[in-house]
Structure formats: structure tokens, C-alpha cells
Symmetry: C2
Subunit: 108 residues, 2 copies
């Protein structure tokens, strides 16, 4: 799966579209950013992508991690954001209208 | 619950400690950052806090969102990072030792 590399000059809407597309296809996406400007763009794109995916009924969360990457023979510390869909029901901070059509599984 | 406000000059380790402390106590934390430098510090602190909490067996993910905040009579767009613990088992990208529910060949 491709890593979505974001720079300080990346356009938010383009990155957001890429994130949403990869999550729809692979149920997972990884975004990489190096430096404050790039991380800023990545987070903004994540927020926009979260909205796109929510419209499709896909709720995502992220885990950020550091990654060492070699760029022109220098090792730099990148931030990677791993994006995955989640069960809506286990994320209490997301407020939605109650779903009347949902039947609870009955345990016996 | 207090909002953890991060600036471009915030120290990563202090913010990380604050995030971990609030999550331990309230099972939820919110971090607010305005501008690329502050968002960069917030994300780095999140990564460090994620490590702290993992040592306690608490696995967190976050959802970023925009928030309009008034600062000196001007409306600015902040980024808020909502951090919550998650069920470890539903996050497939986290690699841990094999799950006990896996059936291993029994030694005879």
C-alpha cells in the first residue's frame, strides 16, 4: 500500500481526497510528513478526509508514530499517521442521532 | 475537563505528561493547537504520550477536528485532537504477541 507523503506545500483538499480514497479501498492509510509545515498540512487534510469518510458511514481514527527516513543520505525523523476505520459505537465522543433501526444483538 | 493548550514553544515532554495524566484520570483528553508550530508540538507530544500510556496497557487513538476560537477579538481556526483509549483488539496495525484465542497445536 502506498504511503501518502505530505509536504508543507501540499494542497489540503488533494491530500484529503487521497486519504479518503486509500481508506475506502484498503481500509487503512498511512500519511507521512516531515517538519512542522508538512505536519500541519497532514492534520488539516486528515480532518477534511474524516468528514468525507463520515459521509460514507466510515469513521476513522489515527495513531501517530515516529519513523526514521533517509533523505539525501541524511536520517530525518518523520511523523507517520496511521488511519483506520473504527466501530462507531466504541467512540463515545462522536455525537450522532440515535439509530432507531439498529437492533441490538441478543445474547442468550 | 481541561483543554490542554499547546503552543509552538511548549515542551514535548511536558505536554506528553499532561496528556497521559488526563487520559489516565478521565479516559479522554483534548489538545488544542493553533498554527503549524503548535500543531507540530502537539503531534510529537501525542506520540510520546501514546508510548507512556502503552506502558500502562492503555492504547489510545485520536480524532482531529477544527474549532473556532476567539483570541483577542479575532476568530482563529484551531485544531483539536480528541484522544481516547481504544480496545486493543480492534486495531489491527498494532503488533503484539499472538492472541490467546489463536488455536496453537497442542503438544502431546
Amino acid at each position: 500500500m502506498d504511503l501518502i507523503k505530505v509536504s508543507a506545500n501540499s494542497r489540503t483538499s488533494l491530500v484529503a481526497g487521497a486519504i479518503a480514497g486509500v481508506v475506502r479501498e484498503h481500509r487503512r492509510a498511512e500519511v507521512q510528513a516531515i517538519g512542522a509545515g508538512a505536519i500541519n498540512q497532514a492534520i488539516k487534510a486528515l480532518i477534511v478526509a474524516t468528514g468525507y469518510l463520515k459521509n460514507d458511514g466510515i469513521y476513522v481514527r489515527f495513531v501517530p508514530e515516529f519513523a526514521e527516513v533517509a533523505i539525501e543520505d541524511k536520517v530525518r525523523t518523520a511523523v507517520r499517521l496511521v488511519i483506520e476505520p473504527t466501530e462507531q459505537s466504541d467512540f463515545s465522543s462522536v455525537h450522532l442521532s440515535p439509530r432507531p433501526d439498529r437492533t441490538e444483538p441478543s445474547e442468550t
